[in-house]
Symmetry: D3
Subunit: 275 residues, 6 copies
């Protein structure tokens, strides 16, 4: 199956099980730090996988043992001229930045992304992981939110997303204002990650186990669950209940619901069609 | 006191202390699974208790040791025809579903509900418990959000409420997308429950202790506290502060405030009139 | 440096390191309980420090070992006549209360406040600490939300802020409805505090360490980080991303960003001008 | 058909055409001023009509030529004791007031209400008419928003609804702050009414014409149109578009849509089943 | 009475009737164009009048016949250096601009402002008039929104306020994008002004008539009416109804309500105490 | 200039003046009714024009005298199978519908669209015109909102947009619930259109005049004005003022602002670079 799939320059994409893709940031000699061309390829990969009926979950990790990613490659960024002060172009720079963000938000719509943070997982790593649905880390992970150290310029969304991902605003302000390194135990306690595993291999296995579980669910139900949870995160309770009611009045008509109900009654495992 | 109270078919309602009612889901032979007539009676009970001046707190548990509730009785639901696809009736089904939800939301207004989760506490159990104010569980509880497994059709509100009850969005997505079982330790860590007790009896005792504490408070103050906390959950900080100010400008005039202040000064326990 | 600074009647203000002020509530013989004149002086101090270019962080604690603050001095409040029921004046009382609140909110704008809770930290202590950015406590702290016990009248904002500071709504309702005492371990678990230290001295040292770290950051970046985190807390994800984009399109032009980037490239520590 | 319908003490209810009810406030000797028992009967009538499958539109007018309604009967209100200052009961009064309001809002859900304002249409008349969907007036109408003259106490919602019904905030503030009388020409210009007719009889005929037109439409489509317009009034554009999409994904499945499409193709008038 | 009042350099302040102040922009030789010192004095005046118990309404006009104001004095602004591009100071400029805006918003809180637009009423004139409660113009007025012609830099709020003051978004975009001049007839049709008068003198008389009418009302009721209308403009219907209920539960207790009710019953004019 | 531009099958695109495109719906023999392929081409055209630096305004009209557009070609839609009830595909249909809507919204971002409604302008014509910035109509126009007649299925956004474009909710409900035809005089009175012209030719000339005026403005300023007006339409006043402040702190740095200011001082017409 993987043979017919495209290959990429800066990322390693494999298909360890049906409906599951594993994307590895593949620049281990530079601790998987990002430069602009990588970022564009990253978007292309997620675009492609998001619209593939053969993919329901994506596991995201870094290649090699040392890092998920050291973050933005600052030298490269300096050369890209993101900071160049061309008169009248400021707005356009901001526009481009926003366009990138909007894209990142959208890779969540149809698939479930499980992010495995390991080794150095700095700056952009946190931005990317807050876009994922589920976060897992290794016990030796070294994480940090680095935006404050470069004056916000490279922000891809951590400051917007972290307060919605983690309940403790005291902790969020602490790590965002200080840019200090935090580890697995702390990340688990505040709920930034859901699982801590002793090694990268174990963490990938854990992610794969979850992904397999999700692959058995009705894709319509998974998509609806994500849509309704995201709606709930951003809206008042009464509005979410109202939206849920309208959503379900359509969803209730899908064949998947009947299949799931019947399977439950007959104590067998249902199989769902591709979306 | 309980003698003059009505009795119910599917629920056991007792009054273990002044101002406190204990409602037990009473279908232990079927792990307290719900069918439609039970659900209607459940609403009636909460309606009745909510408007009783003799009730300030409700403890909610399942009868028997084995389960709070196994959730929706799928066989019964299939027969009820919730899933029947009668043309043109879709909207009405959704309307009914929403009406039920709205009701559930409203049983919170005047009383405090403490939910004791024990044994199997699946599907609808989580829906119900997210409507409660305070959640306690036993150390052997087995909980799961099951909506994804039946394609959302039976949703009474977990997907809308859970992201507002628990801070870790990573954990919320994990349990809602996977429908996996989770236990007491995990529920405490993410803040879904406030206390874990070694047995159902101990958990009921804990709930009773809290309920007794609340029964001593001014009912006006308890109601205001809940109103303002719920407002804060759904609104921006500045709006909540503004609403609090307007709310308090009326509340400050109640006799309860003066009584509470005087009691504080005189180091004695105040007694508050019924609402 | 401190010599030229003003002194205060009810507070001790010192400057333990560059850009850092330490404010101690200084009425230890009364467990640092507040009365109205203290409150007004408290506002004056924060006003003064907020606009000082020499202050980037404030550490806030109680004087003495026994208490951060026992809260509102109820006897004094009763004499102040907050509760006096003069006809037609109700609204004005509420207005005054709201004006105070609004002020408290604003001391966050330009500086970072680290609150060290120790000993008795009751009622108003919690109100004040929820306005701070980062909370630290000692292992022997005794905290309680006391509003419900005086019928909400003295509320300075805990009910509005606590649900936004802590993820577990079950816990928030528990402590706000019961007014029970909770300790360090519980506060850490739910994320109300970020660190627990064995003694007041260690907690102050921890706060000082954080404050020193923050003092090295670009003030523009710190301010932006706080603005964007606060915006994220109160708004939807899409709105926060949009706001971040517009904010950064201006911020990207500050000299601090270039300095920070260059320092990163040159592996040296940047120095930032006063705001 | 009307023979089997209930009769009322303070209102005249007739059925001038299929699916259309005409409700007249029937206390012409007092200019149709409201007292509490009337208000309760008014609610009962709208409750009954709202859930009748035989009613799709309601025309609302006053009996007699002189007035739609002179508003609240202040003498009666004074005797009802709405203003009595019983200690500790303030909140309950407000609760009752809010309950009434909520009810008024809900009579809009399933039917279309066309309000015919004629003669004196003061105070409560404006409150009621802002709850209606469509407003028509006679050329000699005398309207006024009177809340400011009794210190807001009797407010049933004009101040909340008028800014959403009329575009000119300058005009809204003018009439609400001054309580001055305004007439038909002004009401048409600012869009408070949609039609001005020379006499009450002509205005009722106009209302009847609209109601007949609406009676021919699919009830599902009428209900959806109202739901989506009301949603749009209260929400951002992007949210309304999103809600519309979800709403339509359910509505598209009703038989009415197919019938309407086919009728359009076959150039004939469709007939729709009762809701 | 006016004798003891302060006098101002750039504004003429008179007191034509009890509780009414008339503020005239007094630089007629320059068509009342604003420069920075004028703006600061303008703020001082509104601060002073807003907190005076002797002022309930303010009429605002330009001195002389030719202009309300030609807007910002661009030459002066250029010298002020608003546009100077000092590195790192951008944010501060924006902050100052925002502080000014916030102030403008607040002069509405306790008094009613009636703006009389006459002659040239350009740019800043529209900004100021959108902050007023009621707008009146002369038939020869020449109005224009000029922000687009100077690239938004001088915006004090027209773009934020105009869509909330006027219903026709087509017209709002037309005048804001084109910066074209529009006149009295058009302003009345779209609801930007409530009255058109043939001359400045007549317009002032009209404003005075409205102000006198408002001066007879209960100040508590006027303030509440404005608060609730402003809340309705910015919030959903259900939220406004809820807020109104809470607001009224406090307001219902003021002496003014009883006085107003009694006056109504006794057919006499009530007199209300100063706020 | 037009020679190098692409030509289209169902639309006529001309360039009557610098920076101005004129798009005509070109199926006059069918009253410019839309079918799916036309709709897709329509999107392509707006995509292309939106990103062209040579286009600042688009005038949109129908070809021929008889109609802007008769709306959706129902026969074609029936054949397209939009209404086909394939099991499990409902959601996807809704998704597609929403994708189309989102696109329509976005053609507004960088250019100004002026819509000239003439002759029959039914159904989809209103949907499209509510997406435009400015609406002009001929005196003989026949407009109608037709969604209610086909049970909402073809809705592209009128129900979401019309309440935000027009102030009178009474009128909006009237025309949306009745689907009745309305004309130019009524459209002008409620503010749906800004100008009524006696003939299609005159209306196009009017549109061209506006477009030329806009073409002289700074593109940065036009874009900002639209962004801020759209933000104001969807947000609260305080939020819009805050957003405006942040927006301007970036925009103030563009060369256009300095150019515009200098031109104003020097009484000459500025020329602005392409975006």
């Amino acid at each position: 199956m993987a043979s017919s799939k495209p290959t990429y320059k800066h990322f390693l994409v494999t298909y360890p099980a049906p409906y599951i893709a594993h994307v590895q940031i593949n620049r281990p000699e530079k601790l998987n730090a990002f430069f602009e061309a990588m970022w564009l390829e990253f978007r292309t990969i997620f675009d492609t996988l998001s619209y593939s009926p053969d993919v329901r979950s994506i596991i995201l990790s870094g290649a090699g043992e040392r890092a998920f990613s050291a973050g933005l490659d600052v030298e490269a960024a300096a050369q890209d001229g993101v900071l160049a002060e061309k008169e009248g172009k400021t707005t356009d720079v901001a526009r481009t930045a926003q366009a990138i963000k909007r894209h990142v938000e959208e890779f969540q719509a149809c698939i479930t992304v499980i992010c495995v943070l390991h080794g150095y997982s700095l700056g952009l790593s946190i931005d990317i992981s807050t876009c994922a649905d589920i976060r897992i880390c290794t016990s030796d992970v070294k994480m940090a939110v680095k935006e404050v150290d470069i004056g916000l310029a490279a922000d891809i969304g951590t400051l917007s997303r972290l307060p919605k991902v983690v309940g403790s605003f005291s902790w969020v302000k602490d790590v965002c204002l200080s840019a200090r390194v935090f580890g697995a135990e702390e990340a688990l306690r505040v709920g930034f990650v859901t699982y801590v595993e002793p090694s990268k291999q174990k963490a990938i296995e854990k992610a794969l186990g979850i992904a397999k579980l999700l692959a058995e669910k009705s894709p319509v139900a998974v998509q609806g669950t994500k849509e309704l949870l995201n709606h709930a995160r951003d809206n008042r309770l009464a509005d979410s209940l109202r939206y849920t009611g309208v959503w379900n009045s359509a969803a209730i008509q899908t064949k998947d619901v009947k299949d799931a109900m019947l399977s439950g009654l007959q104590k067998r495992k249902p199989t769902f069609e591709k979306l």
